[in-house]
Each structure stands twice: as C-alpha cells, then as structure tokens.
Symmetry: none
C-alpha cells in the first residue's frame, strides 16, 4: 500500500470513529430491498451501525442483493422487537419526517441535525451515548407515538408538489450530511496534488514577458498598451497558473518571439 492510500485509511479511520456513535434505525420497513439500499447508502458515507425495529422481512436475499458490497452492515445489523429496545443506550433521538401540518413540533433541517448528532458525545467524558436517527415506514413514515420519542424532528426540504423521497434516498441525504460534518467540509476547493504554487514575483515576470511579446508581434499598440494588459492581467491572475503552467506560457511566448524574429532576417 503506498503512502497516500495509507494516509487515506488513517483519515477514514478518524471519520469512521466520529460517526461510530450514530445509529440508523429503520422502523417496520416493508420492502427488504430498501434495507439493502440503506446499508449501501450508509457504508458509502462511512456509517456502520444499522438497527431494524420489526422489519417485515429480514434477513432476505433481496436485501443482500441491493446492499451490493455493503452486506457486512446487514450481517452486523441489530434486529429489535420494539423501538424501546432500539433506543436503549441512546441519549439523543432524531426522527425524520415530512413537514407536519396537524401536529407541529420543533424541526431541524438535515444540516443542523448532523451538527447536533456529531456534537453529541463530545467530549467523551460527558458520558453521552449513541445518537439514533429514526426512519419510518415507506408509505407512512413515523407514527405520532414514535415521534414523541424524539428529541427533535428532522426535515429534508423538498418540492412541496412532489416531495416523496424514498427511504434509501432519505438515508443517503442524511448520511451525506453526517459525513460532511465529520470531515469538516465547509465547501472547499481542493488543490490538485501536483500543484506547485508560485510567488507573486513570477506573475510579474510573466506579464513583462507577455507585454514584450505582444509588442513584438505587433498585437499591442505601443502607445496604448495599458488597457489590454490590464485585461490580460485580470484573466491570468484569476486563472492562478501554477509553476508548470507558467513555464508552458513562457515557453509559448518565447516560441512566438523566435517565430517573429526570423521574419526580421
């Protein structure tokens, strides 16, 4: 294993650790395929702990098939006879639900729910236990009684004209936000590994060379170079060429100068 892969594994171990106290709890799931799809949605985001309350049919070949490589999560899934049993050892219970009109309760969006879930159990000495995230039946969601076991309800904002996220999609979105919180992804742009940043002085030398060349090939008007150079500076400053790219650009300028010079002979 090369060192980058080893580094990835160490980082992933940390991510998995920070997500390890979070249980995905499916209540009374009708279609075993959805249990498999849930396992897949969880594993891809680094979640491991699947709990099932009175699933209609489990274990089941269809669940294993839909899990597609995430069946280790199915093998370790805990099956309970009651929600009480599934919540033993949990100090925070979040219930996913469509927006309620008849019985309004405080609701979090997924992003804030993820923040609360990750924060539970920090610091470890606080003695906090697991976090349970509840998902109800495919057709009916959670019952009123089940909602009343929740500290907070979690709402995934959807198109009110067509709001039906299926179970695995809802788990996917929640699992994604949990992972985003765990990795600290605040919306970043990742630099490529071969990036060689340049000193501002290099950019100046590039612009000097560029202006020289543009004069030589008679593109720039020597009496009025400023406006065009300003626009070109804006373009290349925005592009943020790295060292390799600057070398290429200056090579192009030099070749252009050579090709033009030959004319003078």
């Amino acid at each position: 294993m090369n060192s980058k892969a080893a580094q990835d594994n160490r980082s992933e171990a940390l991510v998995a650790e920070s997500l390890s106290h979070i249980r995905i709890v499916l209540i009374n799931t009708t279609h075993p395929g959805n249990i498999g799809a849930t396992a897949r949605a969880m594993k891809v985001m680094g979640l491991k702990s699947l709990h099932l309350v009175t699933p209609k049919l489990f274990p089941c070949a269809e669940a294993t098939a839909r899990a597609s490589g995430a069946d280790d999560l199915l093998q370790h899934a805990v099956v309970h006879n009651s929600l009480d049993a599934a919540l033993a050892g949990c100090s925070l219970v979040l219930g996913t639900s469509a927006r309620l009109r008849s019985l309004p309760m405080p609701q979090l969006d997924v992003r804030m729910a993820a923040e609360r879930a990750l924060a539970e159990g920090r610091p470890e000495a606080s003695g906090a236990q697991d976090v349970a995230v509840l998902f109800g039946r495919e057709r009916y969601g959670l019952t009123n009684d089940e909602m009343q076991r929740c500290n907070q309800l979690v709402h995934i904002d959807t198109n009110p004209e067509y709001g039906s996220l299926n179970l695995a999609q809802a788990v996917q979105v929640v699992a994604y936000e949990l992972r985003m919180k765990a990795i600290g992804g605040a919306g970043v742009e990742l630099t490529p590994p071969d990036w060689v940043p340049v000193d501002a002085g290099q950019m100046e030398r590039l612009f000097v060379h560029l202006e020289e060349t543009l004069l030589q090939i008679e593109f720039l008007n020597p009496d009025q170079p400023k406006r065009l150079m300003m626009r070109l500076r804006r373009l290349f400053n925005r592009a943020r060429p790295d060292q390799n790219e600057i070398n290429i650009l200056r090579g192009i300028l030099a070749a252009s100068q050579r090709a033009a010079k030959k004319r003078e002979h």
Copy 2:
C-alpha cells in the same frame, strides 16, 4: 387551497426559478432505470431540466417505472447525439467524478459546486447561460475528453474503502445541495458588471485556434500535442474567460500567426 399551501407554492416557485438554469446531463447511461431514478431525484429537489447524451436505451418503460411520478421530467428530457450539443447554451460546465490520481484537476466539493452553480446567472442582466452538471457512465464515469470540457470537477467525498455511489445516489446528493443553496439564498459571489459569459462552443474554437497557432510557431510537437493541450485546456477552463477575453486571446493568436507567416516569405 389554504393560505399556507398557497404560500408554499409561491416560495417553491421562487426556488424552482433559481434552479431553472441548471441542467443535469447524463452521458451514455447504460441502465434506463437509472434515468428514471435520476428524474425522481431531481424533481423531489425542484430541478427540472434533464439532458441525455446518447443514452443506451431511451425512452423505455423501465425508466418511466423508476421515475415514479416524475415522468414529466422524462417527457421533457432532451436527448442529444453529442456532448457538444448538450452543452450549447451553457456558460458553466461542472463534471462529477471520483477523485483522480493520474490527471489531477482542481476539484470542488458538492457544496461549493452548488454555490458556483447558483451564482451563475446573478444578476440576471449579466447574460449568463445555463449550468451543466455532467454525470458519466455507471461503471466508468466521465472520459478524459469529457472532463476537459469542464470548468471544474465536482467530487463527492466518500469512504475510500467503499466509495461506489450509484448514479441516482450521486444525482440525489448533488440535487440536494443545489436545493439547500437555493433555499438558503445568502452569500453568493456576484459576477462583475462587465461580464459577458460565453457558450461552451466558443471555448472549443479557442482551443482549436490555440493548437493551430502553437503548431505553427513550432511550440507544440505535432507528434505529441495532447499532453500540453490538456494542461492548457485545464488552465483556460479554470480561468473562465468571458467574451471580451476570448476576443483578446484569439487576437493574440492571430497576431502571432501573422508574425510567424511573414517569416515564410
């Protein structure tokens, strides 16, 4: 309709409007069911504009079945013979990909990509066109050529030991972040007032002209033009030149060609 529902519809109209310039582009999809599942993942988050480049099998009953109430998106989906055709009218092209090790390009996480996508077209007078978000084949993702049509690549962070998000799941996560940005509505980067966005076809013509010129001034090795052109494409795609800047760059290329041509006399 009660007043809360009416309010929801007005708010949703605003959300849908702010997402309406975003196209989900699926390239060469193998399984029609995934096209249906994509339509569903889109509609639930308020996206409408589905574009398909040479899908293996479409229209298809399986796509309609998996769309589950979102088949209006399938009916309005646009099928193209080429990626060029799908990108006509787009001024920003984002490509989803697993992390690249062999050919690094700048990558955004989904949250930042959503920010850029929503910001394109603000303010409306800027004339920016549609945003295309590209998804590749189920097994192989996007080809290198397709990635080179992208201004930026988008990476969904996943468990390195089990990173395989299926196509519909990837679309779901991206659609979710786009909606989150649309309903949040704060902190976007505004385009400068003199910005004149360009169609993706213009970028292609620039690269053709650039390659011609680099061959002519003997900078490019005619037997091995690809690697260097790839790097230059990466630089200029990232820079996102507007119409004025493209005009300047092509003027420079023309001047360089003239200066070199004179040598031949």
